[in-house]
Symmetry: C3
Subunit: 252 residues, 3 copies
């Protein structure tokens, strides 16, 4: 089986099995990432209350934790869910949105990393911040290129045990000696909010049906392919976002 | 007046009167259901704080309670709003998203049902869970067909006093001996998040201008008609969702 | 430089500098206003937790506070952020969604106004409510025309020291003796949720690169121009909203 076929097989399994993916994610992208997961064929649910996250993650096949609009209530839910996921063998992905921008984000991410995500999906400056490397950052946006974060990704992977997926103009999936580069996509993606968050959500769906490294590669590959196809329809952000969902749902 | 004319008359009244519809709904669909209500001609507001829900529901013509991303703060607002709606004679609709999936959802729904919604709008497995019948469920999605839930809907209606609207490939509105079946729509609706939530919101708008049974039928009929029209434009989820709002706003 | 050129220069600076704009806004519009800010070239972030708003506003170039779905947790974050913005010299805009509808909204707005926003962006009934004038209102929608609120805007501006921007069929930017009227746009805007919230967010982006009066005028002018261009593509709300983002991103 070629690599391309292997990546497509992961996406095909999502469509065939429609795995339940539990998301504790930020307010900005809840609708968007639910629609991305549905377009890809998964069954998303957004559930954050401390009263029920443990019950819910136990019936799910993967968990997505995204700290974008974190607050004490959501963080409590994230920690409970991640801990239970660990005991129940449910793989999870961490999206450390904006880590490095405030001390609060740094502290929360340190606690979440200790709970052993299978994958960390982040932009270059976030990966560098998690690895303790100085990075240029503007709020939740990276000013560094993804290439510049590959060494930091390797260090972060070694420290945390997670596969690290750095997204940018070219995406890199890193663990130990393995590095897969995924070029493609289109720059207009950066003018649609939640493209990175959508990548993390899709990694979550892939984690339900594949091993972490393979899952991250398949998800980022699918994101790049859908963005490239959508950019043939439009390179303006409103219609691009619509075309992106269509492309993801229409992938062969 | 034929049945079709009666249903259209309900929608026409919404456009003529633009009733204020108070929503306490989930984070995933707040933008989407606000846009659905605006497209239909209603005046939506999303207000959940315990400090103001009682004041707000008292100036509203209907209330929508949707537990999708419930937590203790939102549940407190829901209970206060529903209780005040009861005293003020403001009809309300309950959308028990994901009931059956966790004990917390079951407990919250039991308390809300006791506050007497005029309509319960749910998918098959949610109706079956509320009626105490074993149901196949995947997170917030039903694995049962709507037909399979008609008996449970009748039992739930008898117990709660509410009109019960079960949505699916065919929708059913049930109360006592009355059952109206509403076929139509398009399966792509299932790949857009919040289609069911939008149906509940539209039931809320119809409750502002019509009796509960008639309101539920008119709302679900309008949803099916808009979905059918939108599917003529696209059956891919991104562009379908856009076309759905257009169809709802452009309905004659 | 003509007035039109001056307004365009503000928007061009946003695209050139991509200023970080800190938003504490409502759940309904977080995705939409983030996309509006990205389309205009700014770098939005939504951050509300009391644990980090002070750190975050200090690295931002402007702050947007929108009370649409306020609750105690968000209000605490808003007050901390606004106070810190004052000390750090970060200009901010207040969007007092639905003020006048409940006592809670009135109290929160009084506290926020005392923290000295550079601009208040609101609809006619909200401006009238803040100025203590009786106004016709339906939930979060104004039933008064923007013209009717110009005197109230002048009074509110005198009291608060803020530039007051009243939006409606014609927008008015008011401070002291200065009044600029901005006609244009298209009525379909009223059937897309968060058009006013988007105007406030864009005022925030303009505040990062221009003085308050000039910022408000440039933002509302850009909104009207984008709405007019989008209405050439569609006057139905789903496709209009998509075309609006495209128009904002494609502005010369």
């Amino acid at each position: 089986m070629t690599e391309l076929m292997a990546r497509r097989a992961v996406l095909a399994r999502i469509r065939a099995e429609s795995p339940l993916v539990h998301n504790i994610t930020n307010h900005v992208v809840m609708n968007w990432t639910a629609n991305v997961l549905l377009a890809a064929g998964a069954s998303p649910a957004m559930v954050h209350a401390v009263e029920e996250v443990e019950d819910f993650v136990a019936i799910s096949r993967a968990l997505v934790i995204n700290i974008g609009t974190l607050d004490a209530g959501f963080v409590a839910g994230m920690e409970k869910a991640a801990a239970r996921a660990g005991h129940a063998g449910v793989p999870w992905v961490l999206d450390p949105v904006g880590v490095g921008a405030t001390r609060y984000r740094n502290e929360v991410c340190a606690r979440l990393l200790a709970l052993k995500p299978a994958v960390v999906r982040a932009n270059a400056s976030e990966v560098m911040a998690l690895a303790g490397v100085e990075a240029a950052q503007r709020g939740v946006d990276s000013l560094a290129h993804s290439e510049a974060a590959v060494d930091a990704a390797r260090a972060l992977s070694a420290d945390s045990g997670a596969v690290v997926a750095v997204t940018g103009a070219t995406d890199f999936v890193v663990q130990g000696d393995r590095v897969v580069a995924i070029p493609g996509g289109h720059p207009v993606s950066q003018r649609v909010t939640g493209t990175g968050c959508a990548a993390s959500a899709l990694v979550g769906a892939c984690l339900a049906v594949a091993e972490p490294f393979e899952a991250a590669v398949a998800a980022l590959f699918a994101m790049k392919a859908a963005a490239a196809r959508a950019s043939e329809t439009s390179t303006l952000p409103g219609s691009f976002a619509v075309a992106f969902l269509d492309a993801l749902a229409g992938e062969p």
